[in-house]
Amino acid sequence: MKSSRRNFLAGGLVLPAAGLAKLTPAAAPAIDAAVPAAPGKLVYRTLGKTGLKVTSVGFGCMITSDASVIERAADAGINYFDTARVYQSGNNERMVGAALKAKRKQIVLSTKTPANGKADALATLDTSLKELGTDYVDIWYLHGKQSASQLTDDLLEAQQIAKKAGKIRFAGVSLHSGHSEVIPAAIQSGKIDVLLISYNFTTGNRIDDLIAKAKAAGLGIVAMKVMAGGFRRVKEGTPEATILNRPGAMSAALRWVLKNPDISTTIPSMTDMDQFEDNFKCMSAKFSAEDEKTLTAHLERISPMYCRMCNQCLGTCRQGLPVSDLLRFVTYADGYGQFALGRERYRELPDRVISARCGDCSSCTVQCPNGVHVAERIARAQELFA
């Protein structure tokens, strides 16, 4: 299994058991009845077989620094809030819990465990409950699973134990990659109620069939990374920044996700009220031709260079080059000014890869489905590092 610090840290994020409060099972909150009405603005969708009615725009609290933004969102009727044990080394759960304390029964609260084993997972859950100041969470995700083998019986059992103890209402799995493996495995387990998946306009419709199958199986689907993550890394003064800094560009990305009816809710990150208000409006706005134009312009700009690591190129180079790795290394140098790192990684490749040259082929057999100019970019890597 791939090395993961997040998993390793699971134990380190557990507070001493002696400090835990006595926990009691909670009654299910009546979500529908408790949410204040906001005609024409709030849009609800059903979170699969959980039956929870959640606002189509939720709140990803991971990078929020000020609790007042979370409080305002809850007051405005947003009712899905997401955090995790590892965010800000545990500080995030504490802030989220404090911000939502007065509305705990009216909102759907989710957190995640980074643990790999039952005992660790249950211990992190107790810590989460203590830090959140609640005796239950609505959805408890196994955090960042990227292969079917990571959905172990041990972890699934931990979720069932927590359910029986009334510490969680529903079991979930979150994943950033490995959709084609993890989603079917989650469906097949019969024990997962909700999936939290990365889904945005850069991934396109590639996983829509999987999402539809999960929905048909009764799973609720929560979308994260809806702004495609990279927006925050766009450098000021570049043409890309000009496009993405246009009013409404970020909202266009959110509306793209919301146009898929199989998505139950979304959890964009928000750090201020302006962002919240923009996202709030997306609930009742339709994805427009102008949105399409904005996102297409962004994709056109990044497509020739940006590898989305879909691995569809795997094994298609006639010289056997590891295409996605090479594209990543050249991005270190050209995209992030990390020439040394790119070259360091390049030189760790086998000799036959280092000595291969794209110029030796009369044509390139690698066709990137996302439009990356593969031969051009790999030739660039060879020019820079070889």
Partner: protein, 273 residues
């Protein structure tokens, strides 16, 4: 080409000087290869949590796992854009309920995890078992290895220490108080309210931000503090008083009923150089 090679060699030398290895944990052996990440692929290592690093202007990370008997220590060194961002990262990740120590700029050690900031580097060491002494030794070794400043950001000394909640001072990387006009700054919790400081590029741009803030609150009352100031009362931020002194904007929010908004804000403003 020669110049490029010379520059890259220098970059490699700098990168390796700060990179961790298992010599900081005597008796241990390296478990697996060294790892390196940039903002482009940090998520491969820590999934969505990577955003929490990128927010603090993350540049690169070098890490290694060290095995000592049954115990594994995971050691990662993150390079941020400058010392201020590195400090911000540290403050965001420390446990406000646990003490900090003077190793490097600052460090915090809990039984299975230790973090350190020095210059523009943020160091994290985690152990599979509780061993604070070992983690402290690792941080001390890393602090010696990393060159550069050990001074925390100057803004920290502006906050008065009386009635300051221990461990509450931190950097906010964007949207201080949840207001986008306050791009980034520092906050500190007091028994009687929350203080904040934001430095703009010029007094003129700070004055423009003040105008935006006035427009944001329904009713404001002018106050005589520093160059300009106002009081207001808002549902979420509570009783507040905000001042501008040169290019610095600061003030208090969430003031308790017994706190004098003008007096506490004036005290803060006086400390701004």
């Amino acid at each position: 080409v020669i110049r490029l090679l010379a520059l890259s060699a220098a970059a490699v030398a700098v990168a390796f000087a700060q990179a961790p290895d298992c010599s900081v944990l005597p008796g241990s052996t390296q478990d697996g290869p060294l790892r390196s990440y940039t903002a482009d692929n940090l998520f491969e290592y820590m999934d969505g949590n990577a955003e929490g690093y990128i927010l603090y202007h993350f540049v690169a990370m070098h890490g290694v796992n060290c095995q000592s008997g049954e115990d594994t220590v995971v050691l990662d060194v993150s390079e941020m854009e400058n010392p201020e961002w590195a400090y911000g990262m540290f403050a965001s990740n420390r446990d406000p309920r646990s003490p900090v120590e003077k190793i490097g700029t600052e460090a915090q050690i809990v039984p299975r995890r230790a973090i350190l900031v020095k210059d523009k580097y943020f160091v994290e060491a985690s152990s599979s078992k509780e061993q604070a002494a070992v983690l402290r030794h690792i941080l001390e070794a890393m602090a010696q290895r990393i060159s550069g400043t050990t001074e925390p950001p100057g803004e920290l000394s502006v906050f008065p220490t009386a009635k300051l909640v221990a461990g509450s001072v931190r950097m906010v990387p964007e949207s201080v108080l949840g207001i986008s006009a306050l791009k980034r700054g520092y906050i500190a919790e007091y028994d009687y309210g929350k203080a904040f400081l934001v430095r703009e590029a010029t007094p003129e741009s700070a004055a423009a931000v003040m105008n935006k803030l006035r427009a944001r609150f329904d009713e404001t009352k002018p106050a005589k503090v520093a160059d300009e100031a106002f009081e207001a009362n808002e549902k979420y931020l509570g009783r507040l008083c905000i001042f501008r002194k040169g290019r610095t904007i600061g003030g208090f929010t969430g003031l308790t009923a017994d706190a004098d908004p003008i007096a506490v804000t004036a005290t803060l403003a006086e400390r701004v150089k």
